[in-house]
């Protein structure tokens, strides 16, 4: 990701794939508005205004406010799945792949905390079809992490009495970084990622 995609707040923008430029600006404006005031308190007029556009110009790109939320959620969840799947499909041992998954998942949730909060907290505002699609992506992310942990158990490298429960806890720990992470705080996203990878290896009882 190039530095051109970094905002003043240090948050990386994952929206490079969204074209044309006006559609991307509206999406970024929607993320900011939803994060600040919540989905239900935000109007399409607010979003258009933040993007320096008219409501009519917004409707060229998005028919409804829900379509904006769906698009944001879809991109966020696709990215999270990519990250975890990339780590799961690596060549290393289960411990190496789990370390990679946790580090990159945490880096994403810290670096993109505004987007991640919207994606995680506004799930219930999606309509049934959009929600089903997102839930399916979440199951795949869960399955990728569970797969790494199960591999480690099968290889005798990990000691995990409850694989689904431990998978849930590992993902939950990483996701919650988006809630508390503060760009002005004492830890960088990389530092949190390194700390968390160590804690997760402990959670799965990885042989030292």
């Amino acid at each position: 990701m190039s530095t051109a995609e970094e905002t003043a707040g240090g948050e990386m923008q994952p929206w490079a794939e969204v074209t044309p430029d006006a559609a991307r600006r509206l999406l970024v404006a929607a993320v900011e508005a939803f994060a600040e005031r919540g989905y239900h308190a935000t109007t399409t007029r607010d979003i258009a205004g933040r993007a320096g556009m008219s409501p009519a110009a917004l409707y060229i790109h998005y028919k409804t406010k829900e379509e904006l939320l769906h698009r944001i959620s879809r991109i966020g969840h696709d990215k999270a799945l990519d990250i975890v799947r990339g780590a799961a499909q690596g060549d290393g041992s289960a411990a190496e792949r789990l370390t990679d998954a946790v580090r990159s998942f945490v880096r994403w949730h810290a670096g993109q905390h505004t987007t991640a909060r919207v994606v995680q907290y506004e799930l219930e505002a999606l309509g049934p079809e959009a929600r089903a699609e997102i839930v399916a992506l979440r199951r795949q992310t869960d399955a990728a992490v569970r797969g790494i942990i199960a591999d480690g158990v099968a290889a005798g490298d990990f000691d995990v009495p409850d694989v689904p429960g431990t998978t849930l806890a590992v993902l939950s720990l990483c996701i919650d970084v988006a809630r508390w992470f503060n760009v002005d705080g004492p830890r960088t996203p990389d530092e949190v990622g390194a700390l968390y990878a160590d804690l997760v290896l402990r959670m799965v009882g990885a042989k030292q």
Copy 2:
């Protein structure tokens, strides 16, 4: 807590201390409205309506919407601090006290997930004074958990390279239960508490 304080959804109500009855009903209505639509999208009229009261009747008890949020947040954070402090001041070993803290903290975040979500996600809607008060309570909760972990390290029972970072992760893991916990899901609050206590003992490298 008596079963009379349990709602149809199985969520326990921590509002017994709020009197008179009308003030308590308004608080419960506010929690539900904030959880459903977000703080900013909720009006005092919505809250009064949910409680079966007039806006004028609401103003007898709460001058502003922010006062309601502040009251909810204060009660929620007081309760969280009580739970963790109770465990920290127990007689057992650091491992026993940490187990107790995690189990009861998780039970609270699972059992009171609607309240906990409002308390955790709407923090930024509080004014500066109210927020400073809540942040002070959060620091005390953090200090109580950090104290148990530091005791375990001092006694040679725990192996923790980064005590503040591990404390943050333990609290974050427990708080995020409020986000994903589902009363219709496969695990009871007690079962999640037991799983998490085991995972947290692993995180601090507790001697088996």
